[in-house]
Amino acid sequence: MLKKRIIATLTVLDGIVVQSIGFKKYLPVGRPSVAVEFLNKWGIDEIVLTDISARRNQKNPSYETYKALSSKCYVPLAIGGGITSIEQIRCLLNSGADKVCINSYAIEHPEFITEAAEIFGDQCIIVAIDCQLGKDGNYYVFNHLTRRLTEILAIDWAKEAAKNGAGELFINSVDQDGAGTGFDIELNRMISDIVGIPVIACGGVGKPDHFLDVMTKTNVAAAAAGNYFHFTEHSVNTTKSYLKDKGVNVRLETFASYINNGISENNRLKKLDDEYLEHLLYEKILKEII
């Protein structure tokens, strides 16, 4: 059976991974290559890297950086930010990206989705949609270049992007971004119920229960978090262990699976029995050899 995916997002600003809060505030985290290497070791299912400065600075994507970081990435890597041409997509795929993420340029040129999907296959094209709740209670598409809400209804754009050949939708909630209070369930339910292509929910994770919520209450195929994964060792395996324990169908095949540990609601390991810990002192743990 197909597993629900746990995705890590890396928001990159001028070459540094940042914590993003409300699409406004950015706190530095570290080098992208280090983040990729660790997430990969902790058993992440996929990585979505977005360079939020590329389009604004009208730069080409940083191919050399991606080449270096992807050499240690043995999970799917989607790269977005600054994409405005087929040639750039080709260069990104040649630099280690497996998929690309298109956001503002697709809004300006919806036919670009079709063109890209015909050349690279629809599975390769993720359309990212930044959504915000408007004053009238509907969700609208947020334009990160103008930093304003557009007049396009999020649901309309989601349907059009899917129709134009997008392989997946990456739904980011501007209101929930960096808040740590959980996904926008309503938004993700609305879109994942209607589009017929996989939806990735993003924005707002603060604890493992938030993943549980979005995976049990909506039809999303995957849930993504950025800030949440950065500051805790093995945060991916512990989160998956928590979800698996609650009956969510996730992939947990890493050597350190924590499956019998028990994970607290704050994604901390529960204290183990003293006797067991003492026994561990004498246990020989073999290194994984492939």
Binding site: P76, K99, I119, F120, G121, C124, G167, I290
Partner: protein, 212 residues
């Protein structure tokens, strides 16, 4: 005398995620190169045809780069081990129905068809189990579990006779996971992107052909 290392060539036909495949094979310690030159392909001990991309673009590039006869020669006459990944596997079919009807390399009889699972979204994206049907050790001798999870990302699959279906997966319907005919192998999922399970599969494939 010291035996020289085997040469693995990842075929570059312009639409594959060649570098990801290259990275994974290099991580395992093999002497690997990305190439489209006849000389290097002829001198290789094993060939890998990467995936990602639409079928038409891939087969058109193979033809315009004059790779078809070179690949036919190496796969069919020389009988070199070949591993196709995703679209690289689909290219081995008789034809594909992706965006119109296009002829393939016709190495393993079969048709590439849109997957039609009921009530499930297409493309089929994510981690799913792979179940081997026969010759399990060819690709799974190093596997960590009976039904290891691999990363899939496709909207079309290889519809072929059961005798070529080395492994299958389930996504609302049976999906061809791996095909085999003699020295030619193909996998629909992405071993280069399936973490340790994927690296283990590549290791099994090369071990099976004594590639060192």
């Amino acid at each position: 005398m010291h035996k020289s290392k085997s040469k693995v060539v990842v075929i570059d036909y312009g639409v594959g995620n060649t570098i990801s495949v290259f990275n994974a094979i290099r991580f395992l310690g093999y002497n690997v190169k990305i190439s489209r030159s006849e000389n290097e392909i002829d001198n290789a001990d094993a060939l890998v045809m990467p995936g990602v991309g639409a079928f038409k673009e891939a087969i058109d590039n193979i033809k315009s780069l004059n790779l078809k006869s070179i690949l036919d020669k190496n796969a069919l006459q020389s009988g070199k081990p070949v591993l196709g990944i995703c679209v690289g596997m689909q290219l081995m079919a008789s034809f594909s129905e992706e965006n119109g009807k296009h002829d393939g390399l016709a190495w393993i009889p079969g048709e590439v068809k849109r997957i039609t699972p009921q009530n499930l979204s297409v493309p089929h994206v994510g981690w799913n189990e792979v179940i081997a049907r026969f010759d399990k050790d060819d690709l799974f001798s190093n596997a960590i579990s009976e039904t290891p999870n691999f990363y899939w990302d496709h909207g079309y699959h290889y519809d072929c006779d059961d005798k070529y279906k080395l492994a299958v997966g389930y996504y609302g319907m049976e999906i061809t996971a791996a095909v085999k005919k003699d020295n030619i192998y193909g996998v629909q999922f992405h071993p280069e992107k399936s973490q340790t399970n994927g690296l283990r599969l590549l290791r099994s494939f090369f071990n099976n052909f004594k590639i060192v």
